[in-house]
C-alpha cells in the first residue's frame, strides 16, 4: 500500500511500532498516526456517524472532523488521524453495535430518512406520560460516542505554567512566521506557537513549498523568535490570556499583542453522498500522500471552487493517483452532483456524467479560522463577494495575519448545495444534519441561524461548526430566501478545539488547613473531620459524652487554634471597635474581656467573638473559625473608609490557642502558668500575659463551654510543646482532650450561640436574644439603624432554648410547626447527660417564645412537643464560670 520512499515524507521507515486495532496487530512507521497506519493497512471505514451510523472515512487528516474518532487505551473520542501510536496501544472502534464494517445500528440510516426528520423527538413519545422513561433509556443508550472507563482513578501528571510574551503569534504557517519575523526585527520579544511538529502550516503538505517554509522557519528562529511546536492555543480570553496545550503541560500566556495567524478551515461541499468514505478535503488527501506516502485512491474526481483543488490534483497525480476530472466551479457551477457507493465512494455523477472513482476531493470556500478573534469579541461579518465570514473590528492588542483575516487568495465562488432527493446531503457531519433538515426547520419557523442551529443541532457536535457553520448558514439563507448576512453567524466560543479536563485541572487539590497540634490529635486517637477549610478533631473516642463528663467533672483541653485572631492597635482603637460592634469597647478596662457580635448595616449578625483590651491603645479580637479572613477584611475596609488612627494585623495563623477548662483548670494553670491564677488576681473575663510552659502567652479567662476556663494564646510553633505540657502536668486530674462534638454539647448546655448555625442570613441581635450586647445609646455603629427599626417594629421571632419532654431527638433543621406550616426551626439539638434531657435552641415565632411555652416540632415525620427554656440549662447563674 505504501508508495516507494518519497522526498519530505514524515515517516521513518527504519523504525516501527505495533499497536492493536480491534485485537489485530497493526504495524506503523515512526511518524505515522494511528489513522495513517490503519489506512496503510487497507482500512477505509474509520467511524460511524452520531445519529444514522453511516460509514465514515478519513476526511480532514488534521484532527478537525468527527469521522475518525476511536477509543484509544480506554479513552473515547480520540481523533486517530492525528494521534501517533505507541508500542502496544490498544485501539477500538466506538459507537457501533457489531463492528465498524457491519454495524447493526446502521438500520437507523435506512429508516432514519423519512421516519426521523428534524424535530422528531419533540413530537413523539409524548403520551402516555409514563412511557417516556423507557423511550428515554433507549435513546440515551443509542446516543453518545465512545464509552468511559468507570474504573479509572489514576491521573496523569499535568503541570501548569505561567508565561509572558510581548508578542504571541498563534499559528506557524507562512503568514505566522512572517508576522513573527517582522515583530522580532522590530525589537519585540516574540513567541510563536504551532500545533504541528514543525512550523510550515498547510504548506508542509505541499512538496513544492516545503523547503521554502523550512528556510523561513530557520530565519525566524534566528531572529530570536521562540518557536514552540506541538502547542495548541485553547482560546483567547480577557486580558490577552492564551492558555496553550502542550500535551502534559498547560502554559498560560499573557501577551501584550496576540497575532492570530490561524489560517483557514477547508470546507466540504454539500451534495448527496458527500460523507462517503473516500470523499475527502484537500488537506486530507494531500497529507496521506505527502506526509505518509499513501496513495489516497486510485482514481479521483476533484470538485473545487479555488486553486487549492487544482493544486491538490497536481499533488495527487505526483503520488500516482489518476485524476478522472477536475470540476472547477469557477469555470462552470454544476447543477447536480451525486456520489454513490456503499462501503466507500464508487462513482461521482456531475450533471449526468458519471465518473468511476474511489476518491473525491472536495474543496469548498476556505473559511478564515477566526475562532480566537471571536473569543476576543472581534465582530464577524459575511463578505458576500468572497462568500465567507471575515473578522472585522479587532479589539486592542489583537492582530490578524494572513488567510485568517479573510485574505484567501483567488476569489472563491459560493458553491450551491446539491443532491436533494438523491440521498442524504450532509451539512453537519458531527450531527448528521442534512439539507432537508434545514428545509424542514425553516418551514417550521426556525428561520434564524441561532434557532435553526438549536433545532437541527447543526454545529453543536465535536467539530463545533468548523466544517459546517458556513454551509449551514448558506443552506438556511437559501431556504429562507434571504442572504447569509441576514441569517447571521453563531457565536464562536472557546475552547478552539476540545480540551481535556485532566489538562485543565492540573495537579490534584491542595490539602486542608491543619493546626500546629494536628499530629497530637491523631496520636491521641481523634476522629478528624472537616469544618470549613480546617481539619479538626470531632472527638477522641466513640463516646463524646465521656469527654463532656471529663470537662464537667475535672479537666478538659481543646485545641481552638482555628479561631480568628486580630490585633487592633492605635489611639483610635477603642472608638474604631465602638463603630464596628453593637457593643461598647472604648470603656473596657485594660486587662478585661467583653463579648461582641458583628452586624452589617442591614443589622444582620455575621460573626462573633471576644475582645480583650491589652493596653489603652491595643485590643485583641477573636472571631469565628470561618470568619477570620472576612472579619479582618471588614475591619480593613472600614478603616480605609474612616481613616481612623488604627493599625490592624491578622495573627490567626501565627497564634495557636488551647482552652483549658473544668473544675480543676485552675490547678493545672497553677502548674504551667507563671502568674497568679487566684480567682481575685485573675477573675472571670480577665486577660493576662505571662508564660505557659515557658512559652509567652496571652490568657483569656472565658467560658464558652460553661466551666471554669482559660484560653491560652501563644505562638503557633510551640503548639505541640504546650499541648504536651498540659497533658503531662494535667495527668493528676486526668486531663482529657475533647473535640468539637463534646464542645457543641457543652456550649448548648449554656445556650451559647454558634454564628451561622443558630443564626442565619436574616438574624439580628435582638431576635437572636442578645439585646444586652446592643448599645443603642452609642451615636452610631454599623447596623444601628436597622436594629432600631427592628426594635420599633417589634420582634417577629426569637432564638430560644428548648427541651423535648418525650426524649425524642429532632434533627438540626427540624421545623417548628404552627397550623401545619413551617414557622421556625431547630438550630441546635443534643442529648445532654448533665441535664438528662434532649435540649436545643430554636427560632420560634415571638408569641411562642415565653418561658414554658409549648410548641410543636417535627421529629421523624411526626409532630412532637417542645417546651421553651429561656435560661441556660447548665449553671444558669454562671457561678461555675466565676468560681
Amino acid at each position: 500500500m505504501r508508495l516507494p520512499p518519497r522526498e519530505h515524507e514524515l515517516i521513518d521507515r527504519s523504525k516501527t511500532v505495533t499497536f492493536t486495532f480491534e485485537g489485530e496487530p497493526v504495524r506503523a512507521f515512526a511518524g505515522d498516526t494511528i489513522g495513517s497506519a490503519l489506512f496503510a493497512a487497507g482500512r477505509r471505514v474509520f467511524g460511524r456517524s452520531f445519529k444514522y451510523h453511516r460509514r465514515r472515512g478519513l476526511l480532514c487528516c488534521s484532527g478537525q472532523c468527527p469521522n475518525c474518532m476511536m477509543t484509544v487505551d480506554g479513552v473515547p473520542n480520540v481523533r486517530v488521524c492525528v494521534r501517533p501510536p505507541r508500542e502496544g496501544t490498544v485501539v477500538k472502534a466506538q459507537n457501533v453495535v457489531g463492528s465498524l464494517d457491519r454495524d447493526l445500528m446502521a438500520v437507523t440510516d435506512r429508516i432514519g430518512g423519512p421516519f426521523t426528520p428534524v424535530g422528531f423527538y419533540y413530537k413523539t413519545f409524548i403520551r402516555p406520560r409514563w412511557a417516556w422513561p423507557y423511550y428515554e433509556k433507549f435513546l440515551r443508550n443509542a446516543a453518545g460516542l465512545g464509552k468511559l472507563d468507570p474504573h479509572v482513578t489514576e491521573r496523569r501528571r499535568v503541570d501548569h505554567e505561567h508565561a509572558h510574551a510581548e508578542v504571541l503569534v498563534v499559528g506557524g504557517g507562512q503568514s505566522g512566521l512572517e508576522a513573527a519575523l517582522a515583530h522580532a526585527r522590530a525589537g519585540r520579544q516574540v513567541v510563536l506557537i504551532d500545533e504541528g511538529p514543525e512550523p510550515g502550516g498547510h504548506q508542509l503538505a505541499n512538496r513544492e513549498r516545503i523547503m521554502t517554509m523550512r528556510s523561513l522557519a530557520a530565519e525566524t528562529a534566528q531572529a530570536g523568535v521562540e518557536i514552540l511546536p506541538f502547542a495548541r492555543a485553547i482560546g483567547l480570553y480577557e486580558g490577552n490570556l492564551v492558555p496553550v496545550d502542550r500535551g502534559s503541560t498547560l502554559v498560560k500566556f499573557r501577551a501584550e499583542t496576540v497575532v492570530a495567524a490561524t489560517g483557514t478551515l477547508e470546507q466540504p461541499l454539500v451534495f448527496a453522498g458527500n460523507d462517503l468514505p473516500g470523499v475527502m478535503l484537500p488537506a486530507g488527501a494531500r497529507r496521506l500522500a505527502n506526509y505518509w506516502s499513501l496513495r489516497p485512491g486510485e482514481r479521483a474526481v476533484v470538485l473545487t471552487v479555488d486553486d487549492r483543488g487544482v493544486e491538490t490534483a497536481r499533488e495527487l497525480e505526483a503520488a500516482g493517483v489518476e485524476i478522472a476530472e477536475v470540476v472547477d466551479y469557477r469555470e462552470r457551477v454544476p447543477r447536480s452532483v451525486v456520489a454513490k457507493g456503499r462501503k466507500q465512494v464508487r462513482s461521482l455523477t456531475v450533471d449526468g456524467k458519471r465518473f468511476d472513482c474511489d476518491l473525491v476531493v472536495m474543496s469548498g470556500s476556505p473559511q478564515p479560522n477566526y475562532g480566537l478573534l471571536a473569543h476576543a469579541r472581534a465582530r464577524v461579518e459575511f463578505d458576500p463577494g468572497r462568500g465567507i465570514f471575515v473578522p472585522v473590528e479587532l479589539p486592542p492588542g489583537v492582530e490578524v495575519a494572513g488567510e485568517a483575516s479573510g485574505d484567501v487568495g483567488s476569489p472563491a465562488v459560493p458553491p450551491p448545495s446539491h443532491g436533494e432527493g438523491e440521498g442524504k446531503s450532509i451539512v453537519c457531519f458531527c450531527e448528521d444534519v442534512t439539507t432537508k433538515d434545514f428545509k424542514d426547520a425553516v418551514a417550521e419557523g426556525f428561520d434564524s441561524i441561532q434557532l435553526a442551529k438549536r433545532y437541527t443541532t447543526a454545529t453543536m457536535g465535536p467539530c463545533q461548526g468548523r466544517l459546517c457553520h458556513l454551509n449551514a448558514v448558506r443552506v438556511a439563507a437559501r431556504e429562507t430566501r434571504t442572504d447569509e448576512g441576514t441569517i447571521g453567524t453563531t457565536t464562536a466560543r472557546p475552547p478552539t478545539s476540545p480540551v481535556s479536563m485532566g489538562l485543565l485541572a492540573g495537579r490534584p487539590h491542595e490539602a486542608a488547613k491543619r493546626t500546629s497540634m494536628h499530629h497530637r490529635h491523631k496520636d491521641m486517637g481523634a476522629t478528624v473531620f472537616w469544618t470549613g477549610s480546617w481539619r479538626r478533631p470531632h472527638s477522641y473516642s466513640a463516646d463524646p459524652q465521656a469527654e463532656v463528663r471529663a470537662v464537667h467533672e475535672s479537666l478538659g483541653v481543646i485545641d481552638v487554634s482555628t479561631l480568628g485572631k486580630l490585633l487592633v492597635k492605635g489611639p483610635d482603637a477603642g472608638a474604631f471597635l465602638d463603630r464596628l460592634y453593637p457593643n461598647r469597647f472604648s470603656d473596657l478596662k485594660v486587662g478585661r474581656i467583653r463579648y461582641g457580635v458583628l452586624t452589617n448595616d442591614a443589622g444582620r449578625i455575621f460573626d462573633d467573638g471576644t475582645v480583650a483590651r491589652l493596653a489603652d491603645d491595643e485590643f485583641y479580637v477573636t472571631t469565628t473559625s470561618t470568619g477570620a479572613d472576612g472579619v479582618f477584611q471588614w475591619f480593613e475596609w472600614w478603616n480605609a473608609v474612616w481613616h481612623m488612627d488604627v493599625e490592624l494585623a491578622n495573627v490567626t495563623g501565627a497564634v495557636a490557642a488551647v482552652n483549658v477548662t473544668g473544675p480543676n483548670a485552675r490547678k493545672l494553670m497553677e502548674r504551667v502558668f507563671d502568674g497568679d491564677v487566684g480567682n481575685e488576681a485573675f477573675a472571670y473575663l480577665d486577660a493576662k500575659r505571662g508564660h505557659v510552659a515557658g512559652v509567652p502567652a496571652l490568657i483569656l479567662r472565658i467560658g464558652f463551654v460553661g466551666e471554669l476556663g482559660y484560653e491560652l494564646h501563644f505562638p503557633s510553633p510551640h503548639g505541640e510543646h504546650v499541648w504536651d505540657a498540659l497533658f503531662e502536668h494535667g495527668a493528676e486530674w486526668n486531663a482529657t482532650p475533647f473535640g468539637l462534638e463534646p464542645q457543641r454539647i457543652l456550649r448548648l448546655e449554656k445556650t451559647h450561640i454558634l454564628v451561622g448555625q443558630d443564626t442565619d442570613a436574616e438574624s439580628n441581635p435582638l431576635e437572636a436574644a442578645m439585646p444586652w450586647i446592643v448599645k443603642l445609646d452609642k451615636d452610631d455603629f454599623i447596623g444601628k439603624w436597622a436594629i432600631e427599626h427592628v426594635q420599633e417594629r417589634g420582634l417577629r421571632s426569637l432564638l430560644v432554648g428548648f427541651e423535648v419532654p418525650s426524649g425524642r431527638m429532632p434533627v438540626e433543621g427540624a421545623q417548628v410547626v404552627v397550623g401545619g406550616k413551617s414557622a421556625g426551626r431547630v438550630t441546635s439539638v443534643r442529648y445532654s447527660e448533665q441535664v438528662g434531657k434532649v435540649i436545643g435552641m430554636a427560632i420560634v415565632p415571638i408569641d411562642l417564645s415565653g418561658e414554658g411555652t409549648t410548641f410543636e416540632i417535627r421529629i421523624g415525620g411526626e409532630l412532637d412537643q417542645a417546651v421553651v427554656r429561656t435560661q441556660p440549662f447548665h449553671d444558669p447563674e454562671g457561678a461555675k464560670l466565676r468560681s
Binding site: 480570553y237 480577557e238 486580558g239 490570556l241 492558555p243 498560560k252 499573557r254 469579541r377 448595616d601 442591614a602 479572613d629 477584611q633 480593613e636 475596609w637 480605609a640 473608609v641 439603624w785 436597622a786 432600631e788 427599626h789
Partner: protein, 83 residues
C-alpha cells in the same frame, strides 16, 4: 483566570487575587428612615458601563482600593487608593 486588575501597590495582577466588594455606596450621615435605610442597604445602581467599585487585594498586599471598570467589557479604566 480572567481579566487583570492593577493594584495601586502591586501593579497588574490576575483578578482571582482580589475580592470585589461591589459598587461604591454612600452610607447615610444621619439616621435614615426605614425606606431610605433599606434603599442604601439593598438597592443597587447596577450600572452597565463604567462604575466605581471596591476591591481588596486578598492574595497580595491586603489593600482596599477603588476601581473604575466598564462592566460591559471588564476593561479597568483606573484604580486608586481611597481618598
Amino acid at each position: 483566570m480572567s481579566f487583570l486588575l492593577t493594584c495601586p501597590h502591586c501593579g497588574p495582577r490576575e483578578v482571582e487575587e482580589f475580592r470585589c466588594a461591589g459598587e461604591v455606596t454612600t452610607r447615610p450621615t444621619e439616621r435614615p428612615g426605614l425606606r431610605e435605610l433599606n434603599e442604601y442597604v439593598f438597592f443597587k445602581n447596577n450600572v452597565a458601563g463604567v462604575h466605581r467599585e471596591w476591591w481588596y487585594h486578598r492574595h497580595g498586599c491586603g489593600t482596599w482600593f477603588l476601581a473604575e471598570r466598564d462592566t460591559t467589557t471588564n476593561r479597568v479604566v483606573r484604580t486608586e487608593l481611597p481618598a
